[in-house]
Symmetry: C2
């Protein structure tokens, strides 16, 4: 195999000095003379030298790489979070190794092992849909690798960044009440996932705060899809006392609700209100457009990186820190029975 990279020693040989000096000059070591630095830098440039970070990582014990574990990249949400992470990471001199789990527990474990093998300086992760065993993450902690969760977080003492689903859902439900809707239903996501559970709780709390008794029949357990929105709506409309508004756990569900209501010839928002959660790409463009809570995805990514960065730099002081990002109400047509 032909050697195709210039090394420190190549430069040193060329300049009749040692690799140590070249290394110091290139990293602006204070004890190296300005003249030497200039000579070395000129030569490095001329020879097209690019430091081998593999070698420096091995020596220094620091890779300047973080691992980001996501359930799937085929989803604007995670793309947007990655955007938030990589941007900041890059500014702070970190590269991002990405691992997608396809929502599979097995691939999640594999990803963590890859990250450990790569000796990443830290990991940012969001749980796959069916992850119930956290042994792989405990392994990460045992190795003292800084770890931060975002969005879908386990019930462990590990720093994390989450959206305030409870208050966001409380707000959305209150908004539907304020708009004059009388019976407000909820189509949930899988309730064993913290994010969806929080939203369900926020919905319930808002009803309670308004002295509305909670009717279990008005809660349909969905699975984050247009279909479950449609199915849930059909179920809710079939009740003896059907609702006149639905707070959906996320926007695909909300879209399904809208589709079913159109099929059932029910006017939105005049006869029926819809409020979603996520602010997906399409929500703005449906007819009528969907009211929803924006998840501040880029912000979540940035906060996750900031938190990880602090832990990497300052050690373990932030062990149980939880950052809660406030969602932003985006009121569009689907919930506006009255004017604002």
């Amino acid at each position: 195999m032909k050697k195709n990279s210039v090394t420190l020693s190549d430069i040193a040989r060329e300049l009749h000095m040692t690799a140590a000096t070249v290394s110091r000059a290139l990293s602006d070591h204070p004890e190296i003379s300005a003249k030497t630095k200039a000579i070395v830098k000129e030569a490095a440039q001329r020879l097209d030298y690019k430091a081998n970070r593999i070698a420096s990582s091995l020596r220094s014990g620091k890779t300047n790489v973080i691992g980001v574990l996501i359930p799937t990249a085929e989803n604007a949400f995670f793309g947007s979070v990655i955007h938030g992470i990589t941007n900041l990471a890059s500014k702070h001199g970190y590269s991002v190794l990405i691992h997608e789990c396809d929502e599979l527990y097995e691939l999640e474990v594999k990803g963590i092992q890859t990250f450990i093998g790569a000796r990443v300086d830290g990991i940012i992760a969001s749980l796959s849909r069916n992850t119930l065993d956290y042994e792989h993450f405990l392994d990460v902690k045992r190795r003292n690798i800084p770890l931060v969760f975002f969005d879908r977080v386990p019930d462990l003492e590990i720093p994390s960044v989450v959206i305030d689903g409870f208050n966001g859902s409380f707000w959305a439900t209150q908004h539907l009440i304020d708009q004059g809707y009388n019976r407000i239903a909820h189509i949930s996501g899988p309730l064993y996932i913290n994010t969806f559970n929080d939203r369900f709780k926020g919905y319930e709390a808002a009803l309670k705060a308004n002295n509305i008794s909670i009717d279990e029949n008005l809660v349909f357990n969905g699975n984050i899809s247009i279909d479950s929105g449609m199915e849930g709506t059909r179920y809710l409309l079939s009740l003896p006392e059907p609702p006149d508004a639905i707070f959906a756990a996320e926007d695909l569900t909300a879209l399904g609700i809208l589709k079913q209501l159109k099929l059932s010839k029910i006017q939105v928002p005049e006869q029926f209100g819809i409020f979603g959660f996520c602010n997906d790409m399409f929500s703005e463009h449906t007819t009528p457009s969907l009211s929803t809570m924006d998840q501040q995805t880029v912000c979540m990514g940035q906060e996750a990186f900031k938190l990880l960065y602090q832990i990497i730099e300052n050690g373990n002081e932030e062990k149980t820190r939880k950052i809660v990002v406030k969602p932003l109400p985006v009121i569009r047509e689907s919930s506006l029975k009255k004017a604002l």
Copy 2:
């Protein structure tokens, strides 16, 4: 700094053998006895050993990491391509280092330098919007780092994976003609980007093939946005002889067209046809839904990885290979004047 990883020598010491033997046993070297392998593997497991890939990369000259350079992650298209890439990469034992350029030339150059420093085994890249200088990519070639472009590719002799924009656009335009639309306009993207230029050419070719003379006034130069779709539509409607259908270079533009036509009280598809390109998330959910060409994004990612993999394994034989992925027509409501 506390040492917190078990190494080969740790295992060797424990078992009274050498690191070389342990290394061979763990990698199933044929000359190692089954018994030794068993002992070593048991110890590795017990001590929770995870090979330091940084060290093995340095020694072997192979990192098993590929770099993926994308203009932005805040875009379902690139998320989906990443999905295609990472999935296959992971199956073949490669990790993915990702670098987002925010559509900025400077960050693109920085990303390439990072990849070179990280000694990635190969690079998959798509050009940022304003990249006109390719020196950083030529540098990659000079270092013999395998390189594959996808979607937005430069005019260089470098393997690439692209969508067949020409034939896709030809098909779409022909479809509008077949549906009985008489004057078909085009709102383009930036024409110096190959993908948008191809689509413009396909549109023209379809008109020619149908003996329709080309009217330059019917081509509006847009910039990939809802706004430019709306603006272009206003312009086209203001013509003495306005069109009755528009082929849009991509779906945001198509959405803008739809919005403007609604404002102008023009019925889609009865009075006016729209055909887009990309099959964005929202296109299915507008009213009426948008006909468009699906870009087969996951497929593109997979093909890009396959091509890169071949080059990594087999050397440079594929230097100028170009893979053309066929887009898939998705006919929805916005172009259906007649039935199908």
